[in-house]
Amino acid sequence: MAISVDSPTVSLDLSKKAGYTFTILSDPDATVIRRYHLLHVGGGPDGQDIARPAEFLIDRGKIVRWANFAEDVRVRVRADEMLAAASQVR
């Protein structure tokens, strides 16, 4: 599932346009982003505070089994890398 500072309306629009089936959550005040220490101060197009790109794979105990913190906003994590990590979780 995906989290950003976008409002639910924006996320729904994005989700419909892209045909996403996964859950998209909104964190407009970056409360959770801050709780996870992922805040990128002034990183938005008009200097807004946004999340730095990061992915976490967690198991039922909410323990992080795999994490990725993008060093470059242009480079995406490859799906096969994420799936390989997911297949390891029992």
Partner: protein, 154 residues
């Protein structure tokens, strides 16, 4: 007396090609090529190479104008090259100007819980995500959940 024909300033054109390549490398990300992670470095290398070749080209055009033709053209190309290479370097810097997240949850740590609204306004917590697939309640509960934090503002 016949005029000695001057050589074309190929360095200026090569520099332009390199600078365009540096900028184009940024668009290549959208194609999601296999060695995508190497693209930032390729674009940096091409931009630096463009600037080096540009200096060579400008020296030839200005100091060796008797040998190389197109002094004015070279200066015009130099402006273009500086713009493209400069833009590439600017993008390189900003795409990587990310805060370090050493305080963020690492492998082995437990994620703090949350309650956030989904696209329809319903509140969702981490426990809800493990309950069952939101689109197919009859499917088995997930063993793992992938949380993707993204920048937004698309």
């Amino acid at each position: 007396m016949p005029e000695v024909s001057k050589r074309s300033n190929s360095a200026a054109w090569l520099a332009l090609l390199l600078a365009v390549g540096a900028l184009a490398a940024n668009f290549a990300f959208f194609l999601n090529p296999p060695l995508q992670a190497a693209l930032p470095w390729l674009s940096l290398l091409l931009a630096i190479a463009a600037l080096i070749v540009l200096v060579i080209g400008l020296r030839r055009a200005v100091l060796q104008w008797q040998i190389y033709r197109g002094k004015v053209l070279s200066i015009f190309l130099a402006v273009l090259i500086l713009m493209f290479a400069g833009a590439s370097l600017f993008v390189f810097y900003h795409a990587r100007a990310l805060p370090n997240s050493t305080a963020a949850p690492q492998v082995g740590e437990q994620l703090p819980d949350f309650r956030l609204a989904d696209a329809s306004g319903q509140f969702v917590s981490l426990d809800n995500l493990f309950a069952s697939s939101p689109n197919d309640p009859s499917s088995p509960a997930p063993k793992a959940v992938l949380l993707i934090f993204y920048r937004g503002y698309w």
